[in-house]
């Protein structure tokens, strides 16, 4: 059901029906002292024309940029069909499907999304999405702790997990008295034997794949090592990479317990950092600890098939303070885009995109390594579509210099990983060509020369 605004006549009629003089009267319960009388610091509103002009001006700074930055948000081609379909009123303005009878379309879409995510990740059940990858990881940790009941309240996290995800997780998780133990990854990935040095119990090990450096972790060994110690395993994955890499449900002997990550690569535009959506999926045994909405399939009184929100007793509107999470919404629009993207491309299409991205990285790497002084930071590691490079100059300098030529050279790692000098993280997807690599290489040669 699309959103249809009220006319003034509608409003008057409804007010008359309930006997209220005006809308303001509906807020009478709020003490006058708490009501904000005016928003003095908020400037006057702009007209649509003024806003369009303002935004067009700002958009110019993003025009014609050759982009080699990844670091959690990836520039994939989004077929025009996707946002055409997503723009339909029923999808675009649909609200939370609490009333099943009026929301079958939305509910079916979420159900299809959940099904696709379980297939992609190899997990039993997926929820309707989280706000983003970072909070999805935080919620996964809280979920692991709940599943462990008398848990150790201690989580092992490799430094190869995205720094923004680690900070977000820390902010949320430490408030609940859960200790985060950060494991160093001097060689670009977590060494499975590093767990031997950890004494005592831990609730879960977080395993990114690929990790922030674009490097592939030894996921089977890590999964088995954590399980052998009685810990759960939380996989943080790039959903696009799963078209080529082993699904987390098949890692190690028994697969991971929880899988999460950011769904941005699946048909969601970069949009200067968001909005994106997080995904969260798990094994059947712990589904009652899964936060967020879950859509299920059922039959109505007449025996006809339909969809509805299910296992709602986990959620706030029933369980209040004892709910699995305070999340009460999801990123519906982006989930819609991702579902349509996955439907249009199918497993073969996704595989093609992932393969093209990975093989493009090989071509980019080969070209860049011909530049004197440019070397891979982790030469012996396998990568997906991102690679960290050491340069003769600091990455920050290089990024700034190339920005003047409207090239985003990559992401400087100096602030987050100073132990590696100031390395440059470059990414390429299927959207780049050999000509683009040549442009980047020539620009780098100019700056480094």
């Amino acid at each position: 059901m699309p959103f249809i605004p009220h006319t003034e006549a509608d409003v008057r009629e409804m007010l008359a029906a309930i006997g209220a003089p005006d809308i303001e009267a509906l807020f009478d319960e709020i003490p006058a002292a708490l009501k904000v009388q005016s928003l003095a610091k908020v400037p006057e509103g702009l007209s649509e024309m003024e806003v369009v002009r303002l935004m067009r001006g700002r958009a110019k700074q993003d025009e014609a940029i050759l982009n080699f930055a990844g670091a959690g948000a990836y520039e994939h081609h989004i077929p025009a069909a996707i946002w055409q379909i997503v723009g339909r009123g029923e999808f675009y303005s649909a609200y939370t499907p609490y009333q099943a009878e009026a929301s079958q379309g939305t509910l079916q879409l979420i159900y299809e999304y959940q099904t696709m995510m379980t297939r992609l990740t190899g997990m039993d059940i997926s929820n309707a999405s989280m706000y983003d990858g970072a909070t999805a990881v935080a919620e996964a940790v809280l979920m692991a702790e709940r599943s462990a009941k008398k848990g150790p309240r201690r989580v092992l996290v490799p430094e190869s997990l995205h720094p923004a995800y680690r900070k977000t997780m820390q902010a949320i998780v430490e408030l609940q008295d859960i200790e985060i133990v950060t494991l160093p990854c001097p060689d670009g990935a977590l060494d499975p034997t590093a767990l031997d040095a950890i004494e005592g119990e831990f609730t879960a090990l977080v395993v990114p794949q690929p990790n922030f450096f674009g490097v592939l972790e030894d996921v089977d060994a890590l999964t088995d090592a954590a399980h052998a110690r009685g810990g759960l395993v939380i996989a943080v994955v790039n959903p696009m990479s799963l078209a080529l890499l082993k699904a987390p449900g098949s890692w190690g002997a028994t697969g991971v317990d929880i899988t999460c990550g950011d769904g941005q690569p699946l048909g969601v535009p970069l949009s200067s950092g968001g909005p994106y959506f997080g995904f969260l999926a798990c094994k059947k045994e712990i589904v009652r600890n899964l936060p967020g909405r879950i859509v299920g399939r059922t039959t109505d009184l007449d025996g006809k098939g339909g969809f509805t929100l299910t296992l709602q007793a986990r959620e706030q509107h029933i369980r209040r303070a004892k709910a699995t999470s305070n999340i009460c919404t999801n990123q519906g629009l982006l989930v819609t885009a991702a579902t349509i993207y996955m439907s249009l491309l199918g497993p073969d299409g996704l595989r093609k995109v992932a393969t093209a991205s990975a093989s493009n990285l090989r071509a980019l790497r080969e070209r860049l390594l011909r530049i004197p002084g440019v070397a891979p930071l982790f030469a012996d590691r396998a990568h997906f579509h991102e690679l960290a490079l050491t340069l003769p100059k600091s990455a920050a300098e290089v990024v700034e210099a190339l920005a003047a030529e409207r090239i985003v050279a990559g992401v400087s790692l100096g602030e987050e990983y100073p132990q590696h000098g100031d390395a440059l993280l470059v990414c390429t997807t299927e959207t780049k060509s050999d000509e683009d690599f040549e442009l980047l290489a020539k620009a780098l040669e100019r700056v480094l020369g």
């Binding site: 009941k149 009652r288 709602q312 007793a313 029933i318 369980r319 004892k322």
Partner: protein
């Protein structure tokens, strides 16, 4: 009018307690409670060996529209749980005082049972609730 067996003790929060002898107390929820909750779909049982305190929640019963905590009537250790409820939570709806028992506690202090409501007092409570 819901059923209220004469040999049980009750909590205001609608749990019943049956003294088994040798310090053990069986606990469940009343017929009135199961009626209010509706068809039960899940029961979260305590773990055998858990220590529970009188008045603290130690189990959860869940229906399609609500999830309610089940409070322990006495302080003690959980010695048995009704695992059959995992597959058939609706047993509580069908037989709240019999097969629908939820857990058994080994009470630390038998005196605590005297503080619970007897069947008449519980019946009165239900009548007051109706008004």
């Amino acid at each position: 009018m819901s059923e209220i067996p004469g040999d049980l003790k009750f909590l205001k929060s609608h749990e019943w307690a049956r003294v088994e002898g040798d310090g053990k107390v069986t606990v469940g929820i009343s017929d009135h409670a199961q009626g209010l909750l509706g068809d039960l779909v899940y029961v979260e049982l305590p773990t055998v060996g858990d220590r529970v305190e009188a008045g603290n929640a130690c189990a959860v019963v869940e229906s399609v529209k609500a999830a309610s905590d089940v409070y322990s009537p006495v302080t003690g250790k959980v010695v048995e749980v009704n695992s059959a409820l995992s597959d058939k939570p609706e047993t509580i709806n069908e037989d709240a005082y019999g097969d629908g028992w939820i857990f058994v506690i080994e009470a630390e202090d038998a005196e605590q049972l005297n503080e619970l409501l007897d069947p008449d007092a519980y019946a009165e409570l239900l009548e007051d609730e109706d008004h």
